[in-house]
């Protein structure tokens, strides 16, 4: 990867957002006219714990360079405890991806409430930049899916 290519590199970010908090947070950042990169593609899920590890891997397979999972703050889950399970699952999954040598900064969990439009935009800006720095996802890429 050359430097000049890196400058132009536009990462594809997949953000799984829970319906009750984070998706509303994204909405709020929109209505507040806050900027966040168009690189972020949001997938709405009923609860952050709907996301199983396969979703994360499938996102990488289909060309994501970074995957972020957003849910209600611990204690605020619409279903009482969903995000607590998410937290354990994703901790273990990310640790395993790290163990396999996949760059840590490609995955993240962030708690964003419906009132935190600003936090949502800031998180996405920051995450997109972190992934941009890493360059294209090569270690967990399905070559067949690369756009020719």
């Amino acid at each position: 990867m050359q430097v000049n290519e890196n400058k132009e590199f536009q990462p594809l970010i997949v953000a799984f957002c829970c319906n009750w908090c984070s998706y509303a947070g994204a909405d709020l950042s929109g209505t507040n006219r806050l900027n966040y990169p168009t690189n972020v593609k949001i997938i709405r899920v009923p609860c952050s714990c709907r996301v199983n590890p396969m979703f994360i891997l499938r996102a990488f397979q289909r060309g994501a360079d970074g995957v972020i999972l957003c849910g209600c703050h611990p204690g605020d889950c619409h279903y009482t405890s969903g995000n607590y399970f998410t937290r354990r699952r994703m901790t273990l999954l990310f640790s395993m991806l790290d163990f396999l040598g996949i760059e840590r900064d490609r995955t993240r969990v962030e708690w964003v409430s419906a009132a935190e439009g600003a936090k949502f935009a800031a998180t996405m800006n920051e995450f997109t930049e972190a992934v941009r720095k890493l360059g294209p996802n090569r270690r967990l890429e399905d070559l067949r899916c690369r756009k020719q």
């Binding site: 891997l57 354990r88 070559l143």
Partner: protein, 323 residues
């Protein structure tokens, strides 16, 4: 030991307390032993074997066998009893239909390690006071017993039977093992080194599914990788992504349920150290959520179906170890 086991099995068959016996059956050579179901004293006398090569964990067969008519007798080594306990906990076996006789565990031998010494044409293997005397087509060979021990036995975690109806021989204790050493060594490498290590290992995978099918924790009626409607079904890894995905998902699905019996690595025809993936999860669970041994009991909550309000955040992964 073998005689005592056959004798006891015959008694239990004769008085009608059990209908079938799960054990190990003699093969063509010294080492190719097959798990088998015995139904009569004659079969037991003819083929039942228990020796240094009876390493197969037979607990998974109980999923099928315990649902059949009549009680089944099973001989379990200490590590196998953890698997049975875990299956009992998940309601995959009918424990009331199983009569467990606890038998001493290994260390068992790995024929591949003997063959790796260049020893071939193996006709018989005898353990003479911890020296293996191997009779081959090309003359007699010897090697120390300790160099042919199965990896899973070399890092044995427990000699204790966690469930049994009776014991033949003594019960042992939970051991301090060095089973996490290799995981730790990998954790201390750089991400690039870890990546290279796993690429070399996982690229050998031929997707034979032996690791999955032998695993006592893998008892789904239909695996997601066999289900055409799952969207991820595949019969062969077409590229490195699919190699990674299969093994990550498989290890994740047994995380918190894997008893670390080591069967996955034992059966892998390509010698991939798959147990390291499971041990990584076990190590993480132990350090992040408290010591937990799957299969040690039948009542506790598994770490992934449990939580506390002050669990660590996923960002802990970013904060520790080498980059």
């Amino acid at each position: 030991m073998q005689e005592a086991m056959i004798k006891r099995a015959k008694e239990l068959l004769a008085d009608g307390s059990v209908k079938r016996v799960i054990g190990w059956k003699r093969g063509e050579f010294a080492y190719d032993i097959t798990p088998a179901v015995f139904e009569s004293a004659e079969e037991l006398d003819k083929d039942f074997v228990f020796d240094d090569f009876t390493s197969a964990n037979v607990s998974k067969y109980l999923v099928k066998e315990s649902k059949k008519e009549g009680k089944v007798l099973v001989f379990l080594k200490p590590c196998d009893t953890y698997s049975l306990n875990q299956l009992t906990k998940e309601h995959r076996v009918d424990r009331d239909n199983i009569y467990v006789i606890g038998i001493p565990g290994g260390p068992k031998l790995d024929i591949e390690k003997i063959k790796a010494k260049g020893i071939t044409g193996i006709l018989s293997v005898k353990n003479d006071n911890y020296t293996l005397k191997i009779d081959t087509l090309y003359g007699e060979e010897t090697m120390p017993f300790s160099e042919a021990i199965l990896d899973k036995c070399a890092s044995c975690k427990s000699k204790k039977h966690v469930t049994y109806d009776e014991l033949i021989g003594e019960d042992g204790d939970v051991l301090d093992s060095d089973r996490f050493d290799m995981v730790e060594k990998l954790e201390n490498m750089t991400a690039q080194e870890r990546y290279d290590f796993w690429r070399e290992q996982l690229s050998k995978c031929i997707r034979c599914n032996a690791c999955r099918n032998v695993c006592p924790a893998c008892t789904c009626e239909k695996c997601v990788f066999d289900n055409p409607n799952s969207g991820v079904e595949n019969k062969a890894a077409s590229d490195s992504f699919e190699e990674n995905m299969f093994h990550i998902i498989r290890a994740f699905h047994v995380a918190g349920r894997c008893t670390d019996c080591g069967e996955c690595s034992r059966v892998c025809p390509q010698n991939i150290p798959l147990h390291l993936l499971n041990r990584k999860f076990i190590k993480d669970i132990n350090s992040l959520y408290g010591e937990y041994q799957a299969g040690a009991d039948t009542t506790s909550r598994a770490p992934l179906t449990d939580y506390t309000a002050d669990d660590c955040e996923a960002s802990i992964v970013h904060e520790r170890g080498a980059e």
